[in-house]
């Protein structure tokens, strides 16, 4: 290791601390939105704060939760009783800072709205049925709270909608190999813009 390396390390540390200090100051992040996974940058650069975002792939939803959660902050997962904890951790979700309500039942809306009012991002499985009026009321509460709700499933008039057109899980071959990667082809509709397609590669290649 050379002196230059040490200096670089120091500079990196200082920059990291600076960025942390910046994070403490009041910023305009809210109006920009929460970050999205790199594979979606081209078609969905940010999750609009105060919006409900619908996505139909659980793997992708977990990745979106992971990237949207601010470092050191908490998140919530509502209504995913059978979520794979390891898969969530693999996707980058800090599972020790997530509150889960696996089976909210009748309390679905109050759980989602309650968390959206106090946490920056909430992932919730769309309930079996939700009256349009109730959905609108919930969306209004999320908007009022500057929360960000990722709904796994469908949602009336979401801020953005991600629909999986096709998923290919690759690596298994007539008894040999094992599943190693996945390729999701998705169609992203943000607001009233024209739907755009993107390809998301999932899975550890190890």
């Amino acid at each position: 290791m050379t002196i230059a390396d040490l200096d670089r390390g120091k500079a990196a540390t200082i920059e990291a601390l600076r960025s942390r200090m910046r994070g403490m100051e009041t910023t305009e992040v809210e109006s920009i939105g929460l970050p999205t996974p790199a594979a979606l940058h081209r078609v969905l650069p940010a999750l609009r704060v105060g919006g409900v975002h619908a996505v139909d792939s659980r793997s992708l939803a977990l990745r979106m939760l992971a990237t949207a959660m601010p470092s050191g902050g908490w998140g919530a997962i509502v209504g995913l009783a059978d979520v794979g904890v390891e898969a969530a951790a693999d996707a980058g979700v800090p599972v020790d800072r997530v509150v889960l309500v696996p089976r909210p039942g009748e309390a679905w809306a109050s759980a989602v709205a309650g968390f959206a009012e106090v946490l920056p991002v909430v992932l919730a499985a769309a309930p079996g049925r939700l009256a349009p009026a109730e959905a609108a009321r919930l969306a209004a509460r999320v908007r009022g709270a500057d929360g960000c709700l990722i709904v796994l499933g469908d949602w009336p008039q979401p801020a953005s909608r991600i629909r999986t057109l096709g998923a290919a899980w690759a690596g298994a071959d007539d008894g040999l190999g094992r599943i190693r990667t996945a390729r999701l082809e998705v169609e992203v509709t943000a607001g009233d813009r024209v739907p755009r397609r993107a390809v998301v590669e999932l899975g550890g290649a190890r």
Binding site: G23, M24, T26, R58, S59, L62, G72, W74, A81, D82, V83, G84, V85, E86, A87, A88, A89, D90, A91, V95, D96, V98, V99, L100, V101, P102, R103, P104, G105, A107, S110, A111, G114, F115, E117, V118, L119, P120, R143, G144, A145, D146, G147, T164, A167, A168, W169, A172, D173, D174, G177, R178, I179, R180, T181, A182, L202, G203, G204, R206
Partner: protein
């Protein structure tokens, strides 16, 4: 043993003659020593609730907020109730406990009467919240002929209100606050240690029985504070100091300043100054309680939400800045809109973090456009429903933090509806099966350490994002339509029937991998395979003599 320490403190008296430091100060006069008194009405929240008729007399009573005890009276304390305790636990210990909601706004408003009464005796009073106030003591002591006399004058002024008080006096505010706690003779840990050391040398005096008070002589703050535990500092630093083996304020005070600054930053330095009896917070009269509300009236009334935004912006900026100067932020805000013809829209807004001025203005505009008020807007009233210390909203630099109080409130409310198991936290566990590698623990319970590995045979990445608890029965059929048995070698599966019952073609598969599970002396052999179906999903299946079950799904 601890309970006896209160009277012990009372026995420590300095006598009539001024103590050594005080004399030195008078004769040399080389610097002006401030004297600050901190006065508290004990159990203020309970007093207010009682005055409002919400709590009866003669039984243990307490006030609560978000399922925790805010304040309680002596009877409740005797029954074991503690401030900060969960309501459930408090009720378990004291079944006859009568509860009322703490009324934060009412407490602030009612305390204005106390401040006014005290100001009649000693000018320049600063409210500190929670039934406490600070006042400068030097002038008052001169006027009334002594600090003890000044305290009695204040007590006499408050007597018509029927309030008891406790007083602590010292050179700086931090020491005065702790002296007030010592005067209670109830924060036993502090008084126990304080009396042990106080007996030799520093001698802080105690006035009783008229008004419980503890007077730390001039120049004696540091010695008075030295034996107190670092936990009185509050905050995260205290825990850290304890882990480093620094248990008392004296330990912290003795550290080199530069090291404290390097290790703990400005906050640590501030705490060290306090530990040294050099808290530089002055009494700031007038900044007693935050502005109650931001109220605007419009004449003539205004129509559109844009116009409201313009009208509100400047005032909201000033309002939030005024709160910020007191290191407060708005965590919840109630907005009331009143229209010319009497229509009213009222709503409470919440959001993660806190409200900046722009956030408040946005909420008011949204509320107006959604309110359906059918005449011009003539009044806006914005009331902070919940104010919090701005430090609560700083990410912790010195280690991790739990969830904030409001998130805890949501969680506890949900646990009230769904039961304790209804809200869980996840952690990674040991084991070979997917379900045992992701552990769900009820919120509030201790999370078990993961079992020691290694775990040969556990599934590598990628892992299914759905894990069935318990695994769901499925069927695998070969090309002839007969069931594929779970074995070390299997016939190629061609059809797959999902847990939902629909038949899907097998596009690809891998395995089987043998899995041996030990439960005590019992060894269970399973086969695990992965199946990719024609519908875009992939599955992890477990097979044994009874057939196949879906353990997880990639989706």
């Amino acid at each position: 043993m601890i309970a006896d320490s209160g009277p012990e403190v009372r026995s420590v008296r300095s006598g009539a003659a001024p103590s050594a430091p005080e004399r030195a100060d008078r004769t040399s006069g080389r610097r002006t020593v401030r004297r600050i008194a901190v006065l508290r009405v004990p159990d203020w929240s309970v007093e207010v609730a009682r005055a409002a008729g919400e709590l009866p007399g003669g039984v243990p009573v307490a006030t609560t907020h978000l399922h925790r005890i805010v304040a309680c009276d002596d009877l409740a304390r005797e029954a074991g109730v503690r401030v900060g305790q969960r309501v459930r636990d408090a009720q378990a210990g004291a079944p006859s406990l009568v509860l009322a909601d703490a009324d934060a706004v009412g407490e602030v408003l009612a305390f204005a009467h106390v401040i006014r009464a005290v100001e009649g005796v000693v000018p320049g009073v600063q409210g500190l919240g929670d039934g406490a106030l600070a006042l400068p003591m030097r002038g008052a002591a001169r006027f009334y002929g002594g600090e003890r006399e000044a305290i009695e004058a204040i007590a006499a002024a408050l007597a018509p209100l029927g309030l008891r008080i406790r007083v602590g006096v010292a050179d700086d505010r931090f020491a005065a606050e702790l002296a007030e706690r010592v005067a209670a003779g109830r924060d036993v840990h502090e008084s126990a240690t304080a009396s042990a050391h106080g007996a030799r040398g520093t001698a802080h005096e105690h006035i009783s029985p008229v008004t419980p008070a503890c007077i730390v002589p001039p120049g004696a703050s540091r010695a008075f504070l030295a034996p107190m535990p670092v936990t009185v500092l509050g905050g995260e630093l205290a825990g850290m100091l304890l882990r480093l083996g620094l248990t008392t304020l004296g330990d912290l005070a003795a550290l080199p300043e530069a090291s404290v600054r390097d290790r703990f930053g400005a906050e640590g330095l501030r705490d060290q100054h306090r530990a040294r009896g050099l808290d530089d917070r002055a009494v700031e009269p007038g900044s007693d309680h935050p502005p109650d509300a931001l109220a605007l009236e419009f004449e003539p009334g205004i129509e559109g939400s844009e116009e409201l935004g313009f009208a509100l912006q400047g005032r909201a900026d000033a309002y939030v800045a005024e709160l910020a100067a007191r290191r407060l932020v708005v965590a919840e805000v109630r907005i009331l809109l009143r229209a010319d013809l009497g229509g009213i829209s009222e709503r409470t807004w919440r959001k993660p973090g806190f409200f900046r001025a722009r956030d408040v203005v946005d909420r008011a505009r949204w509320q107006l456009s959604e309110s359906g008020l059918d005449s011009a807007l003539v009044e806006v009233r914005i009331t902070p429903e919940r104010l919090e210390r701005d430090t609560d909203h700083m990410p912790g630099l010195w280690g991790g933090r739990g969830v904030d109080e409001r998130t805890r409130g949501v969680i506890e409310r949900l646990q009230g509806v769904l039961g304790r198991e209804g809200v869980v936290v996840a952690s990674l566990g040991g084991g070979r099966l997917l379900a045992e590698r992701g552990v769900l623990t009820p919120w509030g319970d201790a999370i078990a350490e993961p079992r020691e590995g290694p775990w040969p045979g556990s599934l590598p990445e990628p892992r299914p994002s759905t894990v069935f608890r318990p695994p769901q029965p499925v069927t695998l059929l070969d090309a002839d339509g007969s069931t594929v048995d779970a074995d070390e070698r299997i016939r190629p599966p061609v059809w797959f029937r999902s847990p939902a019952g629909d038949r899907r073609r097998v596009a690809a598969w891998a395995g089987p991998w043998p899995l041996r599970l030990r439960t005590g002396a019992l060894v269970e052999s399973l086969a695990r395979i992965q199946v990719v179906d024609g519908a875009g999903d992939a599955w992890v299946l477990l097979g044994d003599d009874a057939g196949w079950r879906a353990e997880g799904r990639y989706d």
